[in-house]
Every structure is written in C-alpha cells, then in structure tokens.
C-alpha cells in the first residue's frame, strides 16, 4: 500500500480526475470558493431552491451535508441531484456513520450516474449529538479508508473487494475535512498528509478564527509537501453575535475563538439600546461579515491556501456580501 505522497494524485488542467467545476477552478490555479447547504428535515424542494438562489454564481460548488450533527435530513445525494438541476454544483458529504462499504459504493455509483463528482469523505458526527441517540453506528470504514476506496474505484476501476467495475470507475473529485485545532495539535499536519496519501484531492478545514494557529498549521503542512498534491480550502464562517462566538469557543471541540474577535462582536452593539433588538442584530451581523471578509483577505496571503470554504450556517444570505466584498465575484468560468 502506498504510504508516500503521490504527485500523480495532484489534479492538473491536462489531467483532471473528474472534471468538476471545482476541480477545474483549482487546476487552473484560481482561488476557489465553496459554500454549504444544509438539506431540510423534510422533503420540501422549495427550501433547496431558496438556498441555491442565494449561493448560485457566488460559489464554485456547495457542500450538501449528510445528516449533520446526527439529525435526519433529506439525503445529501437526493438534495445534490436537485441542486444540479438548479445549475449549482454539489459537493456530496458522505459519512462513515450511516453506511457500510456496500452502501457507500452503491451510493457513489448512483450519485455518479446523476452527474455528481465531488465527494467529501467524513467520519460523521457521533449519533449521540443528534435526534436518534439510540441508533447503531456503522463505521465499517473510517474516512481514510473511504478515500482510499473511492480512489481505487476511480483509478483502478475496482470495488473495495478487488472485483473489477465493468465499464470503468466513477469520475470523482475526492475531498477530506481537517480540523487544524483539535488536540493533539502536533499531529494535525501529519494527519493532513495522511489524508493526502489516502487519496484526498482537496481538503476543507474547520472554521478558522485563530489565524495565528492556522498559519502555523499551514506552514508545517507546506513543509511536509502536502499542498503539492492536495488543494486546501480554508474554512470561514461569519459570526452572528458575540454569544455565538462564545458558544463556539466553549462548546465546539478544538475550536478556538480569540478574545479580540469576541470583543469586536461585543463592541459592535455598544451604544445601541438593548430594547432595539433589530438594530443590535443588524450591527452584530454586519460586524460578523466584516470580520469574515478580513479573514479571507488574510487567508489569500497564506502559502498553500487554494481557496475558502464558507460555512454560513442557516445564514446563506451572508454569502453574497462576503464573496463580493472579498473581491471574489464574479466567479471565474473554466470551461471543460
């Protein structure tokens, strides 16, 4: 089994792995922008349509979450098909929590048949955080093994069992998630390298608020040669309020939110009457968007960062002003 970084895993304009819009933009050396759409907890197509209308044209592709936080929602592949039909490219999230290797491979074949190319491989949030805490989790494979399996389906035309995929493997642009901030911090750049070895073509990181720590992480990752084979999209997320910033600092594992950011969010509502909730919310959200734009400007300068992944959770309206003000609109067109 290959345990070294393989340069042939690097996507290039002349040798695309899947030919998705996201892949073509990264291969062309353009600064990529991805967003995120959480499918509804029902089968309401209108929710998907509304979110697509807020993202389309402002992102190169949109992640479709897969029962995130262990809560049952419309399937990522089902929602992904709807999104393709609306003219937006999906990045299908695929967790190891809910499927064994049979289901994963058959879902991938089904997704590929519908034109889905980008797949983000995740372990999945533990079911104890969701609305079915008594569910059995699967974890037949972990995310590394999932990436390797998809890579072998694509490049070797074979199923995980070694049997040939008659007619050829599915064209996939394989993604991974990375949390630069979780303990043990020393291990995180090595873990990113391991994901690149396992088959990741692109990586989206956890939301970054602590820019200094992220820069250290990227420095080590670049030194390890990781960014020579994998495109790193830095995660950003606009804060809605100081309360949200404190919540993320205190409750999201591995998330650090510097005091300076929390103070800026607190200062944004200074002088506005606590009675005027509407004005406080508007001021707070405007500051959240400003901070996000400043962070993107900084991230553009960090060596090895190939783009950004914007997680505006249940606040898709923020995407347009962020992308526009960060000088990332209009999005480049890279013809296939």
């Amino acid at each position: 089994m290959t345990q070294q970084l393989a340069t042939e895993n690097k996507t290039t304009e002349s040798e695309l792995k899947a030919g998705s819009n996201l892949e073509r933009i990264l291969a062309a050396g353009q600064f990529a922008v991805t967003g995120e759409i959480g499918p509804p907890k029902n089968f309401d197509v209108e929710v998907i349509h509304r979110k697509v209308s807020l993202l389309k044209g402002y992102v190169d592709a949109a992640n479709i979450t897969d029962n995130q936080t262990g809560i049952v929602r419309m399937s990522s592949i089902g929602a992904g098909i709807l999104i393709i039909n609306q003219g937006l490219e999906p990045v299908i999230q695929l967790t190891c929590r809910d499927r064994n290797r049979l289901a994963m491979q058959s879902d991938i074949l089904g997704a590929a048949a519908h034109g889905i190319k980008n797949v983000l491989c995740l372990s999945g949030d533990h079911q104890s955080f969701g609305n079915h805490p008594g569910a059995k989790n699967v974890h037949d494979l972990d995310s590394m093994q999932l990436m390797r399996m998809l890579q072998e389906m694509r490049d070797k035309n074979q199923f995980q069992c070694g049997e040939e995929i008659a007619g050829g493997g599915p064209p996939l642009f394989i993604g991974a998630a990375a949390n630069p901030f979780a303990d043990p911090v020393e291990l995180r750049p090595l873990r990113l390298k391991k994901k690149a070895i396992a088959g990741a073509n692109f990586v989206q990181t956890q939301i970054i608020y602590d820019m200094d720590r992220f820069k250290q992480y990227m420095k080590k990752s670049v030194d390890l040669g990781v960014t020579e084979t994998v495109s790193v999209l830095a995660g950003v997320g606009p804060l809605k309020s100081a309360g949200m910033a404190r919540y993320m600092r205190d409750n999201v594992p591995g998330m650090t939110v510097p005091d300076e950011i929390i103070e800026r969010m607190e200062d944004a509502v200074q002088g506005i009457s606590s009675e005027d909730k509407k004005a406080r919310m508007a001021a707070s959200r405007a500051e959240g968007i400003r901070i996000c734009i400043e962070q993107i400007e900084q991230l553009k300068e960090v060596e090895g960062v190939a783009g950004i992944h914007i997680m505006a959770i249940e606040w898709e309206e923020a995407i347009k002003p962020i992308v526009t003000s960060a000088g990332l609109y209009p999005r480049p067109v890279c013809d296939s």
């Binding site: 533990h126 949390n179 979780a182 043990p184």
Partner: protein, 231 residues
C-alpha cells in the same frame, strides 16, 4: 474480565411477578470480582427482593447459592437435583452464565438479574472500563497496545477524528479519554510515531460478530473418537 452491573431492582421485581419460589444463582468468577454477582451481591439483592415483593403483597420465596463458574456445565449441573421446587432461576451471572443455565436446564425458566456490559478492567477504585470487543483479529500491534475498536466511539483505525478536546478528552463523553490521543502519546513516547503514517486498510469484520456466532474448535483438545471394535 467480563464486567456487569445489576439491573434496576424494579425491573427484577417485574420479572419475578407471579413466581412463588425462585433460586438465585451467583457466580464466583468475573462478576464476583467486579462486585455485581458474587456471594455478597446475591445476599443483598435477595434481601431487597424479599422485602420489596413482601411490601407489594406478592411475596416471593428466594433461596441463594453461588457457583464457582456459571459458564461451565460441570460447575452448575448439580443444581439440577433441586430445581423441581423452583418456578425460575434468577441468575446473577453474566449473559454467558444465564445461557449456560438455560442450556443445562431446558425445563426451568432462567431470568437475568445483571446487564452484561463489556470485557474490561478496573481503572480506579470502583471504576471499570472497556478494553476489548472480541473482534477476532487483534490489531494492538499497530496501535501502541491501545484498542481503538473498543475505546473509540467511531472505531477509527486511522484516528484521531477532529473531535478530540483539549487535554485529549473524547467529544462524545468528556469522561472518556480519546483513544487515539493516547495511542499517539504512547507511540510518541516509544519513539515509533512514524508508524502512525501507515494507512490501515479496511478491517475484515467477518471474524467479529458480523460473521455470525463464533466458535473455536480445538481438535487437539477433543477426545479421540474410538474406532468401532476398540471398546
């Protein structure tokens, strides 16, 4: 050892409804060591049940005994001599013990008084932790002697996930140390951290529960079959 703990007394009381006379059978091996089903626990539980069923106006007569090893037939077969007088056996053994009793005594109902939890070890005074899931294909060689199959809620073979909290606690339960944080720390200490870059391939789960009830046959330990005419 196999670690178990007692079911809520209300649940046990419910199981005993309608029974006139019951034999409580403790076990002197694993469940005695983890203070769930040894002589002392049998005594305490039976006293409590006598009082509770009495108070409820449905008194159950309960006799007590403890066998050395409830999971082996030779240690339990003598119980058969006196079972006619009982409506049921209340086992304070692990799930294996309950089933051995059921296998040996087809005409007697066997009720479980314990919940069997895991294969584990004490990690402090009054604390036991899981250490093995019996996957049938031990990988401790690769993970610094710490098992991610039993100690990581996601059974990651190439961990840790992104949910390790500060100080190496698991996001699922801050009382649980992150298995992969400890694997990393131990391999770092042994100066074999390079091995962490190895990508472990998908596990063959057929040796685990997924392959059906497991069985070991040791021909070398079986009695040789006698040829006809030898006798």
């Amino acid at each position: 050892m196999i670690v178990a703990d007692q079911k809520p007394i209300e649940d046990i009381k419910q199981m005993l409804r309608g029974k006139r006379k019951v034999l409580a059978v403790g076990c002197g091996t694993c469940v005695a060591v983890c203070f769930a089903g040894g002589k002392r626990e049998v005594g305490l539980l039976c006293s409590a049940l006598r009082m509770a069923t009495d108070l409820a106006g449905e008194p159950v007569e309960i006799d007590e005994t403890v066998v050395q090893r409830e999971c082996e037939q030779e240690y339990i077969e003598h119980l058969g001599e006196r079972l006619d007088e009982y409506d049921a056996i209340l086992s304070l053994g692990c799930g294996v013990g309950v089933q051995s009793l059921a296998d040996s005594f087809p005409n007697t109902r066997v009720l479980p008084a314990l919940n069997t939890k895991f294969m584990g070890a004490p990690s402090g005074q009054g604390v036991w932790e899981e250490r093995c899931q019996g996957c049938g294909n031990c990988l401790l060689e690769y993970t610094g002697g710490i098992c991610p199959i039993s100690r990581c809620p996601k059974q990651l073979m190439n961990g840790p996930c992104g949910g390790t909290d500060q100080g190496g606690r698991c996001e699922v339960d801050p009382e649980i140390p992150c298995a992969w944080y400890n694997i990393w720390a131990r391999m770092d200490n042994l100066n074999i951290q390079d091995e962490l870059m190895e990508i472990h391939p998908p596990k063959d789960w057929s040796t685990s529960r997924d392959g059906g009830m497991r069985r070991i046959v040791r021909k070398d330990l079986q009695k040789p079959e006698l040829d006809e005419g030898d006798s």
